[in-house]
């Protein structure tokens, strides 16, 4: 089969899976749905592997292939084909997305087993994977926007999966609307690009861009900034990030797949995909790099104080994507995508392990209530440790190499990138602290009631299910934890998928060992070869220094977390009291929600109410409608009064009228 046939199959399988599950939702019993959903994604992954083999067998110069199925929209000024672009970059994304998705589907087979919406879940999940693959394979700007929008929709569906929870529906609409704002950015950005190049096809746009725009041409800067809005909204970067923590309302596998490993990295992919444009629009790239750096710091500080297990990981995701955005904006594409890949492994792993803990806690997510799970949940604990070490950047785990690669790339470029370099290391320290704070609080210390019950061999079940978000009583028909809960220790499919990810998170770094393998850089070369920053020689001294700093900071962070939360348990309270102001700032998430509510949500709502209550009544119903209506009424009343109904009056009018006519004629004569 040809390369592009594989490419189309990659998209087709998840779509088919989603349709089959959707149509068969009433028929499919037991775990059939999980099997169908998982195998659809597995087939998609295998097609991706086929495409990889086919791609690697081509000469390096022709590793960017476009295939079109039909004309999607052709107008006077636009020619949109339904086309995919298969090249090393899109294929890397396909493999990461489909690969991690396969494992998460496998995990979900057990994790969601007792959920009433089992079939629905897999239908949505397959639909998401289809959308995401559509996004990464899109061959032109319009299809990119289509994929972009569809993942937003799928994300909405999955966040609101337990739709009886008010917190979940609120989180869903919030995520969706912010993502639509991002879509608008993409659409406007696409329009600007089309206006400039007259093309929608990505490769054509890239080929024309250098001839159309000079460096920092205002048009392309605006276009790229608009694309950046889309990227920031989807990748939860400041200030478009507030939806991501709330998105944790979705089931844990969703958090692992969409809000950690795949969808939220779409912004990174976008910037990498559009690199020929961002390289012309250097101002936009700088904005992106700074935005990423700000996000990585802001999110890390919030991660230090949040008490919800999943939200800690969510803020960590924001922070890590900040690294990636910073990297690809600064032109360090290989490292950014490398980190994207390793992050997908260890973050998905952390979420899966968190799901296992939540299972043991019967849906409870508050760290304050957890403790002492180390002995009773060895697999989960091990996975947390592996994921945590990778996230903290401890050698030889994968995160160490990828994070270091990013910072090395920034440092090599010098100039003001040094500021980003420093920010990256500050972030790394905080990352290690919050990661191990989470681990120590959940697994060490005094065993909580749930851990004790597990030690007795019984999985804890709450007498009544309450929404962890707002404490309202749950409808178990739609909402966690369903009838039963599941933990990795008791579900092979959960532990297998976690085990695979744990291995990948550990050894994932080998594909890009600096000076040794550099496989990823070579692989991506056909996509990025035109980039001036791609493959600039590395300063090996800087690399050695960076690695040492990274490892030391990571270990230091872990040590600090150990001191604060294990060795001297009261320390954190003292720190909170000492630094009351920053603590308040961090625990209120830098007041972003409040600021957005104040600046955008409330004015809009007030305007809407003003229109509804005042303008409609006074202007529309009053001045515009009532005015003409009353004029019509008054004039009709005036004419009506002549119609007395008196026959003799009419006769008199006729006679007088006739007399007047005669008189007139006589006078004329």
């Amino acid at each position: 089969m040809s390369l592009t046939t594989y490419g189309w199959l990659v998209i087709a399988f998840p779509l088919a899976g989603s349709i089959i599950l959707g149509l068969g939702h009433k028929v499919l019993k037991g775990k059939t749905a999980g099997a169908i959903g998982s195998s659809a994604i597995l087939l998609s992954f295998l097609s991706g592997l086929g495409a990889l083999r086919s791609l690697q067998s081509r000469p390096e110069g022709s590793r960017q292939v476009v295939s079109s199925l039909w004309t999607y929209a052709h107008t006077g000024g636009l020619d949109v084909q339904f086309s995919i672009l298969v090249d090393p970059l899109s294929l890397l994304m396909v493999l990461v997305v489909a690969g991690v998705s396969t494992l998460i589907h496998l995990y979900s087979v057990a994790y969601m087993a007792s959920d009433e919406g089992y079939v629905r879940f897999f239908a949505y999940l397959n639909f998401f994977v289809f959308s995401m693959l559509m996004l990464v394979l899109a061959g032109n700007l319009i299809l990119l926007a289509v994929g972009w929008g569809l993942v937003g929709a799928a994300s909405y569906l999955l966040i609101s999966f337990w739709y009886r929870r008010n917190t979940a529906t609120k989180a869903g609409i919030k995520a969706f609307v912010i993502n639509v704002v991002g879509d608008v950015g993409i659409v406007l950005g696409a329009i600007v690009i089309i206006q400039g190049t007259g093309a929608v096809d990505l490769l054509t746009v890239f080929a024309k861009a250098p001839h159309v725009w000079h460096t920092n041409d205002p048009q392309i800067v605006v276009g790229c900034l608009l694309l950046m809005v889309g990227a920031f909204a989807k990748s939860a970067q400041v200030p478009f990030h507030t939806w991501l923590p709330d998105a944790m309302e979705g089931p844990t596998p969703v958090s692992a797949l969409i809000h950690a490993a795949t969808m939220v990295t779409a912004g990174v992919y976008l910037i990498a995909r559009m690199h020929p444009l961002f390289q012309i629009a250097t101002t936009a790239s700088d904005v992106g790099a700074i935005g990423g750096a700000v996000t990585l710091l802001v999110a890390a500080t919030i991660g230090l104080v949040v008490t919800d297990l999943k939200r800690v990981i969510a803020y960590s995701t924001m922070s890590q994507i900040g690294y990636m955005i910073m990297a690809v904006s600064a032109g360090v594409y290989g490292a950014g995508l490398f980190h994207l890949m390793t992050h997908a492994f260890f973050k998905a792993l952390l979420f899966m392990a968190a799901g296992s803990v939540i299972g043991a806690m019967a849906g409870e997510q508050n760290l304050d209530r957890m403790g002492g799970f180390r002995k009773v949940m060895p697999i989960t604990y091990g996975c947390f440790i592996v994921g945590g070490l990778a996230l903290s950047g401890i050698p030889p785990f994968s995160g160490f190499f990828s994070k270091d690669d990013i910072l090395l790339g920034l440092g090599t470029q010098g100039g003001w990138y040094w500021a980003l370099y420093v920010a990256g290391y500050v972030g790394a320290l905080m990352t290690a602290i919050y990661t191990f704070r989470m681990i120590f609080r959940a697994f060490h210390g005094e065993p909580c009631e749930e851990a004790k019950s597990l030690a007795d061999g019984r999985l804890f079940h709450a007498a009544e299910h309450r929404n962890p978000g707002d404490g309202t009583l749950e409808d178990t028909g739609v909402g966690y934890p369903g009838a039963k809960h599941h933990i990795a220790e008791r579900s092979p499919s959960m532990s297998i998928s976690m085990g695979v990810l744990a291995i990948l998170a550990t050894i994932g770094g080998v594909i890009q060992l600096p000076k040794v393998t550099n496989t990823l850089d070579h692989f991506l070369d056909p996509t990025f070869r035109d980039s001036p920053k791609f493959g600039i020689p590395i300063d090996y001294n800087l690399m050695a220094i960076g690695m040492v700093i990274g490892a030391v900071l990571g270990l230091l962070g872990i040590y600090m977390a150990w001191v604060i939360w294990v060795k001297k348990p009261g320390t954190s309270a003292r720190i909170q009291a000492r630094f009351a102001l920053p603590y308040k700032l961090f625990s209120n998430k830098w007041y972003f929600d409040e600021i957005i509510a104040f600046l955008i949500v409330r004015p809009f709502a007030a305007t809407g109410r003003f229109f509804q209550r005042t303008v409609e009544r006074v202007v529309v119903d009053g001045a515009i409608t009532a005015g003409p209506v009353s004029i019509a009424r008054a004039s009709s009343a005036a004419v009506r009064s002549w119609q007395s109904g008196m026959l003799r009056a009419y006769a008199a009018a006729v006679i007088v009228g006739a007399a007047l006519v005669v008189l007139y004629l006589m006078l004329q004569a």
Partner: protein, 504 residues
């Protein structure tokens, strides 16, 4: 000849049903609806796209002293809208047939008359014929609201009629003036064939007042802010299937009128009022959206969202670019289909919430109704122009056209895109999601309920997969419609790669 048949089929079957009696009225109407759809689809399939232009033309001198022709045709501009009308009419008749009406004979007669009038307005190639059908559309709806409506129906229908008639009278005067001026210019007997009225060297002042008269009629019908005062009451009191027909196609006649008449006949005026109409369009988008996300009435969410969507169509047309006009045309079809689905869904929702259409009395319906939930979700996503829907392509083309001609308008209009997401999802969530606090009936779509909805959903999906068949046929005529006005406004109507590069 085929077109005359198509035009009269709904009316004739309505009349036939009325004559045949209460028992046969429904079958006659349903057959009429499906027959109309069949003829329309047949014509569309037989329309030679490669050839393009006007086909199946009928042109007979109808009223000789006044020079009025019975001139009908199908071209790329109205093809899709004619099929849309037939489709909506068929769906509406089916939706009516699965429930009971008081006095069904008269009801279906009025419905058929309405559909025939709309078809006539789309097909007419004579200005007076257009005006005639445009006004005729109002008559059956006056009765349909007045007799079969609910609530304050008489007040609502009176308000609607006064509004629309005011606009129509202006349009009639303008149409007569156009014909007379053309006759005196060419020095021949008066006639109103639209093709003969183009390229009149009218003075700018004359063009302007004539254009404004037409615009007033169209803006009332769409409706655009601030001429939408009749909408709320009329929507509230219309029977739901009637509302589907009304909202689905009548508003499109007005938008079509801009493309068919106002732009080609009075290009200078269109160019000079471009800013005004763009402003009205943008205000409609923002104002309609703001109303839609504050109302609690499910029906009014659809109504106000129509104001916003027609605002998009208006700015698309008055971008005076080929892409904008094509986007507007595509969006007319999309909006028609989506509206039918949404209006019918509102009916289903109300039946689950003890007959109330208040969003506050719904909640949690999705639980027992997965099919309904999916169907509603598809319609809602389409209405908010979710990427991958044909509405997205329509809106994209509109925004692109507007961006190319008046950038700032496009940027403001984008707010409407985000607001659409808010109001559609808000309505969806409040009806379908959340805890079941109001004791709604959790029942899935029954076969009868699904019958008129599912075809619309299928059409939404089909258009999403490929909107190209519509775009292909409308490219030529839509471009031709905007070119004179674009020239007058000094706008490049077709932004292509070459022109974009030449400009730099």
């Amino acid at each position: 000849m085929e077109l005359t048949l198509l035009l009269f089929l709904p009316l004739a079957t309505g009349l036939l049903g009325a004559v045949l009696g209460n028992r046969l009225v429904k079958p006659a109407a349903v057959l009429g609806g499906l027959g109309t759809l069949g003829v329309a689809v047949g014509l569309a399939l037989n329309y030679d796209t490669a050839l393009g232009g006007s086909q199946f033309t009928v042109d007979k001198l109808w009223v000789k002293p006044l020079g009025i022709h019975w001139a009908l045709t199908i071209d790329g501009l109205n093809l899709a809208l004619v099929v849309l009308t037939a489709f909506v009419y068929a769906s509406v008749v089916v939706a009516c047939a699965v429930r009971e009406q008081e006095n069904p004979r008269l009801f279906y007669f009025h419905l058929g008359l309405g559909a025939s009038a709309v078809l006539g307005a789309f097909l007419a190639q004579d200005l007076i014929l257009f005006v005639l059908f445009f006004d005729l559309m109002l008559v059956p709806f006056y009765f349909l609201v007045g007799q079969w409506g609910t609530g304050e129906r008489v007040a609502a229908t009176t308000k609607m009629v006064i509004y629309t008639l005011a606009g129509s009278l202006l349009m009639l005067a303008a149409a007569v003036a156009t014909g007379a001026l053309a006759a005196s210019h060419h020095g021949r007997h008066i006639d109103f064939l639209i093709s003969n009225l183009q390229r009149l060297p009218l003075g700018k002042g004359t063009q302007q007042w004539i254009f404004l008269c037409f615009a007033a009629a169209f803006l009332v019908k769409m409706p655009a802010v601030p001429l939408h005062g009749w909408l709320k009451d009329a929507y509230k009191s219309m029977p739901l299937p009637v509302l589907a027909l009304f909202s689905g196609v009548l508003s499109k006649v007005a938008a079509y009128g801009f493309l068919k008449l106002a732009l080609p006949l009075f290009p200078d005026a269109a160019a000079s009022f471009q800013d005004l109409l763009l402003a009205i369009g943008v205000i409609s988008i923002l104002y309609g959206s703001a109303l839609a996300f504050t109302t609690n009435d499910a029906r009014l969410v659809v109504g106000y969202s129509s104001i916003a969507q027609l605002g998009f169509i208006l700015i698309g047309i008055f971008s005076l670019t080929s892409d904008g006009a094509q986007g507007a045309l595509l969006q007319m079809v999309n909006h028609g289909v989506v509206t039918v689905a949404l209006v019918m869904i509102v009916g289903v929702l109300a039946s689950r919430a003890k007959g109330s259409e208040d969003l506050g009395s719904m909640g949690g319906i999705a639980m027992g109704a997965p099919v309904l939930a999916v169907v509603f979700l598809i319609a809602a996503f389409a209405n908010l122009a979710m990427p991958a829907s044909a509405n997205f392509i329509g809106e994209f083309l509109i925004l692109k056209g507007v961006f190319d001609s008046v950038t700032v308008v496009a940027v403001i209009a984008c707010l409407g895109v985000a607001m659409a997401a808010v109001y559609m999802l808000r309505a969806y969530i409040r009806a379908m999601h959340g805890p079941d606090t109001n004791g709604v009936e959790q029942r899935d779509l029954s076969f009868r309920e699904a019958l008129p909805i599912l075809p619309a959903i299928a059409l939404i999906l089909a258009l999403a997969v490929s909107p190209q068949p519509l775009l292909k046929r409308s490219e030529g005529p839509a471009t031709a419609a905007v070119i004179p006005a674009a020239k007058a406004a000094n706008i490049d109507p077709i932004q292509t790669a070459t022109t974009a590069q030449a400009k730099r």
